[in-house]
């Protein structure tokens, strides 16, 4: 496949997407409450958040599928409200659970989508790149989940767009298929594409994204590189455990080195930047109070912890 250069060299300046206060309401429900952010040229930008945080709505406003109630965005040099057709020429879109004409073959549907644009790239190498070579003559009906998702990405790339939007590209895929897809996304970045993706998987965001915007309840609550986000916790370790026969509330915040405490159902969470001290102190504390600790685990703090830290809820229960 060709590089992302050529005709799009004029996008070499740093910012390629400038989101200016997008708002979307569904009746009285405020889905997106005025978000601002910039996406840099050539990066993988992640919108992370639980279901219903407004990630998909934000993305769909950017690609012209929903009309914002307020605000706008500039993609490349085009305003998404006034020059949508121009915008559509330089963006590629993969929607959540794309459904296509089941009775067409992989090759046929790619040719059809290619015809919707003023120009397109050769179909054959694109099929090879998306690891669909053996399936080129197969009907879409018979593809696996991962193959369908790769086809959806191929459709997003058929006109050689500069920016690619991927909405939850790996949701519902098995671990093997997810890894395959990650490789494809990273390859796209190597080819010079800018990628905006939404996900509610921590590990995915951490591995793929150069920068992450964390969204919750329609608002953007943090934006930074994954490393910086975790650093902002000011505690690099997390300690998890359960207490057998816990009857009343126990306050663990007095334990040495603990920066923050949390609790998810019956699992206690302590954040600390001095893991050894905290662990020793916890054991003492438990012995004194006659508590029986089980399932003790220590780990490096993750983006999940950043989210819990900021919202008090985990990504899954939010």
């Amino acid at each position: 496949m060709r590089g992302g250069g050529g005709t799009y060299m004029n996008f070499s300046e740093d910012t390629i997407i400038d989101v200016k206060g997008l708002v979307k309401n569904y009746g009285s429900f405020k889905a997106v409450k005025g978000v601002h952010f910039q996406v840099h040229n050539g990066e993988i930008f992640g919108l992370l958040g639980p279901n219903g945080a407004g990630k998909t709505t934000t993305l769909e406003m950017l690609v012209g599928l929903r009309k914002p109630d307020e605000g706008t965005a500039i993609i490349g040099t085009h305003d998404i409200l006034r020059e949508l057709t121009k915008v559509k020429e330089i963006i590629g879109v993969q929607l959540q659970s794309t459904s296509l004409f089941d009775l067409l073959t992989v090759e046929e549907i790619l040719q059809m989508y290619a015809s919707f644009y003023p120009s397109h790239i050769p179909i054959s190498p694109l099929i090879d790149d998306m690891l669909l070579t053996e399936k080129r003559k197969s009907r879409i009906k018979g593809l696996s989940g991962g193959q369908k998702q790769r086809l959806a990405i191929a459709l997003a790339l058929v006109h050689d767009p500069h920016v690619v939007f991927l909405d939850e590209p790996t949701t519902g895929l098995d671990p093997q298929a997810r890894r395959t897809l990650w490789d494809i996304v990273l390859q796209l970045k190597n080819k010079g594409k800018t990628i905006v993706l939404t996900t509610h998987y921590m590990d995915e965001a951490h591995i793929l994204c150069d920068r992450i915007a964390i969204m919750d309840q329609g608002e953007l609550i943090a934006l930074d590189t994954p490393t910086q986000l975790v650093k902002s916790l000011q505690s690099d370790s997390a300690l998890e455990f359960r207490v057998l026969q816990e009857e009343e509330f126990i306050d663990f915040s007095s334990i040495e080195g603990v920066k923050k405490v949390g609790k998810q159902s019956d699992v206690h969470l302590l954040y600390s930047d001095q893991l050894q001290k905290t662990l020793t102190s916890l054991i003492h504390f438990a012995t004194e109070k006659n508590l029986q600790l089980v399932d003790i685990q220590t780990r490096t703090a993750t983006l999940e912890d950043v989210f819990i830290h900021m919202t008090g809820r985990s990504l899954r229960e939010a």
Binding site: S99, L104, Y113, Y117, R139
Partner: protein, 366 residues
Amino acid sequence: MKAYWQLTLAQLRIFLRNRQVLMWTLIFPILLMSMLGLFLGKGNGISLTIGVIDHDHTSFSNEFVNAISNNEAIHLVLQKDEKKAQTSLKNGDFQLVVTIPKGYESSLKNSGSKPLPFTIPVYYNDTNFAVSQVGLALVNGVIDEVSKQRVSYAPVVEMESHGIKALHLKYIDFLVPGIVAMMIMSNNMNGVAGQIAAWRERGILRRMQGTTLKASTFIAAQITARLLMNGLQALIVLLVAHLLFGVEIRGSWFTLISFIILGTLAFMAIGFIIAGIAKTPESAAPIAGVLSFPMLFLGGVFFPIRNMPEFLQPIVKLLPISHLSTALREIMNVGAAWSSLGLEAAILGGWVVAAFVIASYTFKWE
């Protein structure tokens, strides 16, 4: 332009690969045609089975029997046993039973100048009154003829009857254009409504909206593909009707195809409106049903419009299906040309324009 061809091609591929739909949309009208044409058609024609019992066995009685059997509409069965004949009459195998009593010939020969009429008993089944009446009239005609011959009757006044459209139309000739009209209606109206609503529900249209494709290109391709497919289906049904049932196509193929196209466009446009209104594919089918069902009965598909109650006629006369079935019928049965079908063409054309204007406002990608 490339997008238009690709979308048309895609739609044609989908049609051809959806074998079941393709098969059943063809089988249904042909089946309907066979059932209505062969079974119902019998009752509607004037074919009578008459049992004749000849007790006289003379050359005169033979002549009488021949006179009856010479009538094309009558199928004559000679019977010996009167009881058997009566049973057959009750069972409906015979519509009439005619008995020629002994002494028929001698009575006629000895009639002299002032003859006493000889009585020939004719039995009919009064549960099948209408057919019996026709049969009685026919037999009466034969008897009348015989009587007139015997008395050397010379008529003073004669009737000369002229059929206005002396085309010997059978019910099937009336039926086939109606069925083709029905097929055009259901394939296009229900087909478009169901498919577009389903594509919207599944997000197929939404994904296309994410590209630079224009709605007008998409709709144009839909229309082209459907015109080709549904036009072809209509022609296949016509061909089957022509070859298997001997239905004549008296008008020009050009006129016939023009009206098939006009009808297809009108119902497709209505289908697009329904697809726009329907929120889910599940609601598209009943909406299309509500519109198509009354049209089937009121639109002159199965019964002539003039048989309908007075108060319904003005409504019926605005329905697109009425004009499509009338036009097809005129072309096929009578051989009407374009010039005599101006009203039908104008009303169908009006539907096409109006419906497409409304459809363009109600069309939604999602």
